[in-house]
Symmetry: C2
Subunit: 309 residues, 2 copies
Amino acid sequence: MIELRLWRQFLAVAEELHFSRAAQRLNMTQPPLTQAIAQLEDLLGVKLFDRTRRSVQITSAGAVLVPEARDLLARARALPLLARASANGQAGRLRLAFVSTVGFALLPQWVRAFRLQHTQVVLELVEATGDVQLDLLARGDIDAGFILHSPGFAPPGLARVQVASEPLVLALPESHVLAAGRAPTLARVLAEPLVIFPRRIVPSLHDAVFSLYHSAGRLPQVAQEAIQMQTIVNLVSAGFGVAWVPESVRQYQRSGVVYRRVSAGRSGRASAGRAPAEVPDCETSLVWPEATRNPVLQRFVAFIGESPG
Amino acid sequence: MIELRLWRQFLAVAEELHFSRAAQRLNMTQPPLTQAIAQLEDLLGVKLFDRTRRSVQITSAGAVLVPEARDLLARARALPLLARASANGQAGRLRLAFVSTVGFALLPQWVRAFRLQHTQVVLELVEATGDVQLDLLARGDIDAGFILHSPGFAPPGLARVQVASEPLVLALPESHVLAAGRAPTLARVLAEPLVIFPRRIVPSLHDAVFSLYHSAGRLPQVAQEAIQMQTIVNLVSAGFGVAWVPESVRQYQRSGVVYRRVSAGRSGRASAGRAPAEVPDCETSLVWPEATRNPVLQRFVAFIGESPG
DNA sequence: TAAAAATACTCCATAGGTATTTTAT
DNA sequence: ATAAAATACCTATGGAGTATTTTTA
């Protein structure tokens, strides 16, 4: 492999067309430069300069190499800068996953702002449910993910920062009796058939919903399970039942569905003796492996921390 | 400047994630490789690998550098190949000038064929009159040129190879008496006012035309001078006079102009006692400095020599 | 305890230096 | 006569080797 040193020396001679001056520019003396060029010509098997004892001119093969050598050296010089930019997170790659609910409002604006500040960062985005994200994190296939969970979520080995908290609201078919009139009370809602995601998708949130029913001495009647938020809402629209969804799902605007906040308010005496539980909030966090070494991720976490949210 | 050696070693470790195996692949032992990576990290000011005494893994900064380093090495490896291709004329640059008459039929097909065989050659083409071309050649601004001349042309210091020979034909306004009927004889033509290029443009051809008149004891009556072949034909069309042009000019298809071959045939006795001269041929040659060192030109000359034409 | 990286040193290849010669202008 | 490249020879930096130590799985 011909080292950069020789190409640098070649360029100096090609630009000066004068060995002594080129040597001076390279902070060396003329004789070793002469030898270096001779060595390069020998390694290439190509004459680079036509030189009499008095004058130097470049051959056409040499002339072809000048811009190429310049380019090579420029790239070589750029690498240390890139290395430093990568080390402090200004350059690199960030693989993020996200649940659909952040994908619509929050994420796009974050991505846009982060990109502006980090032009050398390649962002890779995937939509995935929370359980899949935890799997991807474990395999190291993503750097971080935005997932939904209920308050108090603390996955082992992962760090997280909360980016949103919103109430769970009830999605109802628009023809449903509770869709109109005063805000429905929890007691009335608990008897309704339920559309909900399978427990494995977001266990903490699933459990929170179920304990809401349990604390009222009831067992939820699951009419249908579905994974996608959109599917859940569609099933509600089709009359399968009601569903607890994060408030931001309102943005879907699916016709035939009404969203209502549910008060814990004591309505009649549905649960004898027990205090009615609060409807839990639904939180969204950015989650990543505690042991991450990706400086871009560290920047992103700091960025998210500073963002209003 | 960080030498390629260090990047090669870095890549080997990055690919093996194992110093001993990487060292083996590099045909060296492990300790100096450890030192080399340490040196690279030191020069960059960036940790490239997280290593316990038992395992090695790349940092994200290191990961960013891998494709860059690969690219750098690939480019460095390509340079010697390019150098050799340039030395034998498979790569490089060829600056050609040409007169308009070759620019329409011959040159395009040559350029196309030559390009197919020499994909790494950059061809630069300029149209210019012969005198300008000789000037460009003298300054080294072009490598070779296609010029018109009369037989026997031998410019000092230049080599040439003839690529075409064609008769001079007479361009006449279509309303001219000689435009119809039997082929005009030379004697009838010599009295006509003449449109011709200035002598400096193609002295040899200009002189050949003039000696045609002199040998018949006449002085040409120059009605108008013009440089461009197209202009000359336009002037003929406008009735300024007749003009001697290479036969290939027929391709211009300027309306109002008729082209006729002129026989030397003895018509009457216009030139008492003298044998009527032949209308000279007009030749086209590729011309280049004898001392050229451009291997691409040498290939082009060989190529032109082989081409039918 | 075994595998692998780090450390300590040794050596020599070669990049670069000095002195001198050659040659074209 | 001189400027500049080539040649001859010398020096020393540092890249690579060998031997050994350290560490942790």
